[in-house]
């Protein structure tokens, strides 16, 4: 029995609205995932209806997986998009004013006797505290127990080894990507797989009077001199129009605040083309009334300033940022961002919201591109056999919601641990409350350095604890020791030697790695 025989009511045409990076990511994912299924994919490009990105995007290792599903070869991708790699996120005086620290994508150290690595470091910290040894030698820089971090700080890079016995197998990385090049790249990919691009001015949306589903979109196509009125019909629609949620707003689907708390809700950014600084990491640091993010692709360097527009104006923010970057000729990009907000049903009737139309977010570390990539793959894994399939839809919405709340928790943890200044913004953040779930996470991290398990987590438990320990390790000795007492059955001298040995191994290994810029040039 073929699909057509399964049911007449299958999806045969999908129309995507919004030809920005979001739209092309969706198109590319679907074009590949639905190969050989005789599904027409249309992408409607109206310049005023595109999801807006900054100049660059930083990703997690998930982007590698996304590319592997799409059959995109990394070398081809890197060459054509001028993207670079990222081994870690570096925090400059985020929660610890003393020092910077790196949060890698891979685990720190090694588990010993089935116990998480961080417990060994914490046990050593306790021991040193009791013996009144300064935390210098062995304990400072939790990130030195990670090859990815040490290499990132030294400006070194290589691909992870496939040999599990090699130290280099502990490396993992994401990308730093110039958005424009990447959107073009995915456009090329999509069109070669048969996606039809329609450049047009969007008009009215025709809804079914009975179900409220979308039947068609009226557009004015301007492919030639003549403006053509077209009615675009499809079985299924995807809203990739960004925060304006052009399609979703037509069918009416609610938005809610998934988390309490005060966040930055706006950003400005400055991009420098032909940069002088290319590093295999991204950087986060605190700023007056907000925070900064630096992304270093080989083609563009970008500095973004996230702030809350209740505290400072766009003009002030822009002024501050150009002063900070001392940039002379720059393109300043102003973006209206939003504090975490989410659509109750990102899949509503026969329309799916992906990207900023589903959830407002520019969450540090994960990035909004990630949410688009994971949404596309999730949609394919729940692809409905019939157009109207409410259970697949409910399941999609449940998973999307869980993914987002976990990510937002991690984002909110950044705010909670920030050793913030006295600006009114940070004062408000400190006074604000956190979700029950984040409170539990924080509670367990503080008590034990452990990360509670929740389903549909994007951030690995290694990253949660890395962020926590890297940023504010060994500061409070008024609390209980934060490690598993099982560690005490291990000889303390052996433990100390292992820790020293690990640090040494990682440093030595990192020093043998190629210099990042040379590695990129040799690709």
């Amino acid at each position: 029995m073929s699909r057509e025989m399964q049911n007449e009511n299958t999806i045969k045409t999908i129309a995507i609205v919004g030809a920005g990076l979001t739209g092309w990511t969706i198109a590319a994912g679907l074009a590949n995932g639905l190969r050989g299924m005789n599904v027409n994919i249309l992408l409607i490009d109206d310049e005023s209806v595109r999801d807006k990105y900054h100049a660059t995007e930083a990703t997690t290792p998930f982007a590698k997986y996304f590319h592997s599903v799409l059959g995109i070869h990394e070398k081809d991708f890197i060459k054509n998009t001028h993207a670079g790699y990222s081994l870690a996120t570096e925090y400059c005086a985020w929660a610890n004013s003393e020092q910077a620290c790196c949060m890698p994508f891979s685990e720190h150290g090694f588990m010993m006797q089935d116990i998480e690595f961080s417990h060994f470091v914490m046990a050593q910290a306790e021991e040193n505290f009791l013996q009144k040894i300064l935390p210098e030698n062995i304990l400072s820089n939790y990130d030195n127990y990670s090859l990815s971090s040490v290499a990132a700080k030294l400006g070194r890079f290589r691909h992870p080894s496939q040999e599990s016995s090699s130290l280099f197998s502990t490396l993992d990385y994401g990308y730093q990507i110039p958005c424009d090049y990447y959107a073009q790249y995915l456009q090329h990919y999509s069109i070669s797989l048969g996606v039809e691009l329609i450049s047009a001015k969007l008009g009215d949306v025709v809804l079914s009077p009975i179900t409220g589903s979308i039947e068609s979109i009226q557009v004015d196509a301007s492919s030639t001199e003549v403006v053509q009125h077209l009615k675009i019909e499809a079985d299924f629609f995807i809203d990739g129009s960004g925060a304006q949620a052009w399609l979703m707003s037509k069918i009416g689907s609610d938005i809610f605040d998934p988390t309490p708390g005060i966040f930055a809700n706006a950003s400005v950014s400055i991009a420098i083309h032909e940069p002088t600084k290319i590093e295999p990491l991204t950087r986060l640091s605190l700023a007056p009334s907000g925070w900064r993010q630096h992304i270093y692709t080989p083609a563009v360097n970008e500095t973004r300033y996230f702030f809350n527009d209740n505290d400072i104006s766009y003009e002030q923010a822009s002024e501050w940022l150009s002063e900070y970057t001392q940039a002379k000729s720059v393109d300043a990009i102003v973006l209206q961002e939003h504090s975490p907000k989410q659509r109750q049903q990102p899949w509503y009737k026969n329309c799916l919201a992906v990207g900023q139309s589903a959830s407002y977010a520019d969450v540090c570390v994960v990035g909004k591109l990630h949410l688009v990539q994971s949404a596309v793959l999730r949609f394919l894994s729940l692809f409905p056999a019939q157009c109207h399939n409410s259970l697949q839809q409910q399941e999609y919405n449940r998973l999307t919601c869980a993914e987002y709340t976990n990510i937002v928790d991690f984002h909110a943890l950044h705010y909670q641990l920030a050793q913030s200044n006295e600006s009114s913004f940070w004062k408000k953040v400190r006074a604000s409350s956190v979700s029950e779930r984040l409170a539990h996470r924080l509670y367990l991290l503080q008590a034990r350095g452990s990360v509670p398990f929740y389903e549909n987590e994007t951030i690995s438990s290694g990253m949660w604890s890395s962020f926590f320990f890297g940023n504010q390790i060994f500061d409070s000795h008024d609390s209980l020791p934060r490690y598993n007492p099982i560690v005490n059955s291990i000889n303390p001298q052996w433990r100390e030697q292992q820790l020293l040995k690990m640090k040494k191994m990682f440093t030595e290994a990192a020093e043998t790695m190629p210099v990042y810029i040379e590695y990129l040039a040799a690709l």
């Binding site: 699909r3 399964q6 259970l391 539990h440 007492p485 099982i486 059955s489």
Partner: protein, 515 residues
């Protein structure tokens, strides 16, 4: 000291739960720091019904450095590749829920969708033919899974049928050799700190007093500490899992042991058959509301092929769990924390899980509420997921031959289960989660085995051209059939005297030796 460290740990009760806990703590905790005591009475019998295990037990044993072959000899163990369920979906039906997966996923679409596509188009070949563990079990064969993670022959795992009392004795010896203090005696009283409510002391009938900082309640159904002393309420699930009685009896071996457990449904419950090396464990589970004890005993005895080896043992229980399993300075492990019938051999697994979680969250001092909350959260998540899976066995049925089955078939199941069933019916999607004992292959086994056939399959399964799919499935079936043909028989594997350490590494998975 900035805090009150825990130094004395008291385990109340022996049995499988008590001795597994004792062995794990003796192995992991520093004996210079902790004093671990176990109190048990020779006069109190253990339940020891859970003689069928799941593959996770291998992981527990491996962590404790236990030699698998020695363990098997000491516990009269046989291998177990799954459970055969007969008469569940309807009278005359049978399927095996294997410790392994079906086929192989293609383009990120699970195998059962491809099978479903063929099935819905009229191909009657059972999905069993694509599971090595099922094929091997039916042929009464056994061999270790392959160490090559890419091979189809690595996509299954195995567990054991054991004599649980012998396992407890084995772990008792293990613990005592490592310095555990065992105190013989019956408990007379329990003292609590009047301010905090923490348990401070156990008084024995002999007058002896045992003090402790931290207590582990392994007292079985009595739940002496968690239930009786700390008054933790019991959440009953009997409206979903109405069976509340069991009768157990061992019998002489009547044939070579099978490499799987049997769970045979009857008019108001089910019967088990657990093959050990030297005998067979038998039991009948039922709901007292629908059956008389005498009738059930007669039915049990008439279904035994060998000779009974002991008097029958009557058990009473109620499905459910304590709302919290770690309260104040007391953690309950085993039956004291809750009960789920042994339909899917979950009892020892739940003990193991609680021990592993306790070890992971072992407190430094008496008052660490974050650790306690996390423990309770994880244990209840696990309990509820297993509960839903068990309820499915009763609910997914066409049986209408008794009041009992009529009730089960028409009862309202938990919303979390109804959602999963509906989702599967629609187009074969199995709700995905990563934590928990039973994942996608198990749900597929029971859904399909008990007659829930989806209306459609994942549409993306159509990406594989029909001829290619048919050929691929055929060669997979042939490969499996041939592989099983070359496996040694279960008995010859059991009787092999080779003592080499040749068994594969263990993992916390039902489906393979790679996590």
């Amino acid at each position: 000291m900035r805090y009150d460290p825990i130094k004395q740990i008291v385990i109340v009760g022996g049995g499988t739960a008590g001795w597994m806990t004792a062995a794990a703590l003796m192995h992991l905790l520093n004996k210079d720091v902790y004093k671990i005591t176990l109190i048990e009475s020779d006069q109190i019998g253990t339940v020891g019904v859970g003689e069928a295990t799941v593959p996770h037990l291998r992981f527990f044993n491996e962590r404790l450095g236990i030699n698998e072959k020695e363990f098997m000899q000491k516990t009269n163990a046989t291998y177990k590749l799954g459970i055969e369920f007969s008469n569940w979906g309807k009278l005359g039906d049978a399927y095996i829920h294997p410790f392994g997966v079906y086929g192989r996923s293609i383009n990120d679409i699970s195998f059962h969708h491809y099978w479903l596509k063929q099935y819905l188009s009229g191909d009657q070949i059972s999905i069993d033919e694509y599971a090595i563990a099922v094929a091997a079990a039916k042929a009464e064969k056994f061999s270790y899974p392959s160490r090559d993670a890419n091979s189809l022959l690595s996509k299954y795992s195995y567990a054991f049928h054991i004599d649980a009392n012998k396992y407890a004795s084995f772990l008792r010896e293990y613990s005592e050799v490592r310095g555990l203090l065992r105190i013989e005696g019956k408990i007379d009283g329990i003292k609590q700190n009047p301010d905090s409510g923490d348990i401070t002391e156990i008084r024995l009938e002999s007058g002896e007093k045992i003090q402790g900082d931290f207590f582990i309640d392994c007292s079985g159904f009595k739940s002496l500490l968690l239930g009786k002393t700390l008054n933790t309420s019991f959440e009953s699930w009997s409206h979903w899992l109405p069976c509340n009685r069991a009768i157990a009896v061992p019998s002489t071996k009547d044939r070579e042991p099978l490499p799987y457990t049997k769970a045979i449904a009857h008019s108001c419950g089910w019967q088990w058959k657990i093959p050990l090396r030297n005998r067979t464990g038998n039991g009948i589970v039922y709901c007292s509301q629908f059956a008389k004890d005498n009738d059930m005993e007669a039915q049990l005895l008439s279904g035994i092929n060998g000779e009974p080896l002991a008097n029958v043992n009557y058990l009473q229980f109620e499905a459910g769990r304590r709302e919290l399993t770690w309260v104040k300075n007391c953690v309950a492990i085993g039956l004291s924390s809750g009960f789920l019938e042994p339909l899917e051999s979950t009892s020892i697994y739940l003990i193991q899980l609680a021990i592993m979680k306790l070890v992971e969250l072992f407190p430094q001092s008496l008052h660490e509420p974050a650790l306690r909350d996390e423990f309770n959260r994880e244990v209840s998540m696990e309990y509820e997921r297993i509960r839903d899976f068990l309820i499915l066995h009763y609910h997914a049925t066409q049986r209408d031959d008794s009041e009992f089955w009529h009730y089960c078939r028409t009862m309202k199941v938990p919303e979390s289960l109804q959602r999963k069933i509906d989702l599967f019916k629609e187009q074969g999607h199995v709700e995905r989660y990563t934590r928990g004992m039973f994942l996608e292959p198990s749900w597929v086994a029971v859904y399909l085995g008990q007659g829930i056939t989806p209306r459609a399959y994942h549409p993306l399964a159509d990406r594989i051209p029909a001829e290619e799919l048919a050929a691929g499935l055929r060669s997979m079936r042939e490969f499996i059939a041939q592989a099983v043909q070359h496996m040694p028989s279960h008995s010859s594997h059991l009787n092999n005297d080779n003592n080499a350490h040749d068994w594969p590494a263990a993992s916390m998975s039902l489906y393979g030796v790679f996590s």
